[in-house]
């Protein structure tokens, strides 16, 4: 039963890779704030000059993946960025990334912890399918415990339903 579920997930991911098109960068909920926070974090990134991770114009500057409510699969709009990170990691074996799953507050704290873990694990799997080694990735969840925005509205919730890619220094 469990094996069956995993293989379905793999098929989904592979299908996603096959259908990848560069034009799929249309705005996802909160993508503008994502770009902002990604740019901010890349500005303080310890990456050395010449490292594409350091280039604010690179797709690698996008460090957050956003989700609809109660969904943990990476959306089409975010797939190119995750793929680019996978490629980067496969070419930079010394780099490690921590995937931090987060949720909006509409669920119990424990359910959201589980959902955030599923979100982070989904990104981890996609990175590994794209060439990153298991040892380069770690997935954790904060559930709803570390909201970026605290209001009880969709604008805040959209920002909080997120997996952040945090590169180790």
């Amino acid at each position: 039963m469990k094996k069956l579920v995993i293989s379905i997930v793999l098929v989904n991911l592979l299908a996603a890779c096959a259908s990848e098109k560069p034009k799929e960068t249309s705005a996802a909920p909160g993508s503008s704030s994502a770009a902002k926070s990604a740019a901010a974090s890349s500005a303080s990134s310890p990456a050395t000059a010449g490292d594409p991770l350091n280039d604010p114009a690179s797709i690698l500057a996008k460090r957050s993946v956003y989700y609809p409510f109660d969904v943990a699969t990476v959306q089409d709009a975010d797939k190119p960025a995750v793929q680019a990170h996978a490629k980067y990691l496969s070419g930079h074996a010394n780099r490690k990334v921590r995937l931090e799953g987060n949720c909006d507050e509409r669920g119990s704290n424990e359910y959201n912890l589980a959902l955030g873990q599923r979100r982070a694990d989904g990104v981890k799997k996609m990175l590994e399918l794209g060439g990153a080694k298991t040892s380069q990735t770690e997935s954790v969840s904060y559930g709803e415990e570390k909201p970026k925005a605290s209001a009880h509205n969709e604008a805040a919730w959209a920002q909080n339903r997120r997996t952040d890619l945090m590169y180790a220094k």
Partner: protein, 423 residues
């Protein structure tokens, strides 16, 4: 004044406000029980400073239960049995009368004498003398309130029990244990990372909880007597949602070490781990039945979060909640006949209960951000996390939905409350 209002509108919904000056928190009571028992609490004799505390605790406890109508003694102040003139109280329509005195003893101890009298039958219902250290004056008050509650309602009192919750202030998290009225806060753990899911051991000696202090969710078990603790589940991913078995010999926990969030059992020292759910979906928030034979839990195996039940030996799982919305955080009632849970519908959380026999769901609150309900040990009151004036607060509702109270802590947000056992 409050008593006047109470007398005037019995049976109607009313709003009473009882805030205690200089306290760590303020309490608002909304509503009243259907049949309030008229009782008069005579301020204790003896040391007046101590007597004031006792009176405050006893009247506060009884008022918050919603089951009593406190009748003003109106100047009469018997402290000994011989000083009681029953007709004085019969004319006031009082069913029961509480009298007593408290004295400070040498060596930092206090002694209280207390009697509860049946005014109609003119008999003594309770006669007790208690001695305790002078730091335990409020505890004596709670004990007296428990005696009154138990004698007059037939149910066990819960005022002497304790609660645990998490206080969040900015990025500071504190795991707190406090008296049932929120006083006597004791900080169990302070951290700059989130703390969640506190769970009382059945004997009240330990808390299991989840802390993110090492960068991910890890389960700890900590003694409330020695403050010593150990990490009992620290696998990759998330280790969460600890729940004690009624005999205290097992913890049900949720791990992601084998993939998705699944339920496992282990001993409270972290040994003997075995997996008992195999859904591949999210299975979380396990809660043992009082007989230790079943677990209620939250799962999204059907496509969205609902409550399920399974045997502790693993399977067969049975879905318990249906209908609109999602359901989370199930906890058995102490009598095992039903459960309380958080019901999410149209963007609002409600506290709801469901009976196993009838499958009937009852919504007890008006809705808002109401999460993590847990029963008091006598099953008569439900504690939950709510929100008011933009802050996370503790709130209670009687299990019949009639009486509600809001408890405001001094600062920060109160989250993840759980009512401890009577012990």
């Amino acid at each position: 004044m409050l008593l006047g209002i109470l007398r005037g509108v019995i049976g109607l919904l009313l709003l009473a406000q009882a805030s205690v000056a200089g306290a760590a928190l303020s309490i608002e009571i909304i509503g009243a029980g259907e049949h309030q028992i008229p009782v008069s609490i005579v301020p204790f004799g003896g040391d007046q400073k101590l007597a004031k505390i006792i009176n405050e605790v006893v009247t506060g406890d009884l008022q918050r239960s919603g089951l009593f109508r406190l009748v003003d003694p109106a100047g009469k102040s018997p402290h000994e049995l011989a000083e009681v003139n029953y007709p004085d109280w019969q004319v006031r329509g009082v069913d029961a009368l509480a009298i007593g005195s408290i004295a400070a003893l040498p060596n930092n101890r206090v002694e209280a004498r207390f009697r509860l009298l049946d005014v109609v039958k003119q008999t003594e219902l309770v006669g007790q003398a208690v001695s305790a250290s002078d730091g335990q004056v409020r505890a004596i008050g709670h004990r007296i309130a428990d005696w009154i509650y138990e004698k007059l309602t037939g149910d066990k009192g819960v005022f002497s029990s304790r609660i645990a919750y998490v206080n969040r202030q900015g990025q500071k998290f504190r795991l707190i244990v406090a008296d049932s009225d929120g006083y006597n806060e004791q900080v169990v753990l302070a951290s700059n990372e989130p703390i969640m899911s506190p769970a009382w051991s059945p004997d009240g000696s330990h808390l299991a909880y989840v802390s993110f202090e090492t960068g991910h969710a890890v389960i700890y078990v900590q003694s409330l007597y020695t403050n010593q603790r150990m990490s009992v589940a620290d696998f990759r991913g998330s280790n969460s949602a600890p729940a004690w078995s009624p005999d205290g010999k097992q913890l049900a926990i949720v791990l992601t070490r084998d993939g998705s969030s699944q339920i496992y059992l282990m001993r409270p020292d972290g040994n003997g781990i075995r997996r008992i759910s195999f859904s591949g979906a999210i299975d979380t928030e396990p809660n043992f039945s009082p007989d230790g034979q079943h677990l209620l839990f939250t799962s999204d195996r059907g496509g969205s979060a609902q409550i399920y039940r399974m045997s502790v030996d693993g399977g067969p799982e049975q879905r318990m909640t249906f209908g609109d919305g999602n359901n989370f955080s199930p906890r058995h009632s102490p009598d095992g006949n039903g459960f309380v849970f958080a019901h999410l519908n149209n963007g609002k959380f409600y506290v709801a209960t469901q009976d196993f026999q009838t499958g009937q769901m009852s919504i007890l609150t008006e809705g808002g951000w109401e999460k993590k309900p847990s029963f008091a040990p006598n099953g008569k009151i439900i504690l939950f996390a709510s929100e008011a004036r933009g802050r996370g607060i503790l709130a209670t509702v009687s299990s019949d939905g009639r009486v509600k109270q809001h408890m405001f802590t001094q600062s920060g947000d109160a989250r993840e409350p759980v009512w401890g056992p009577n012990f």
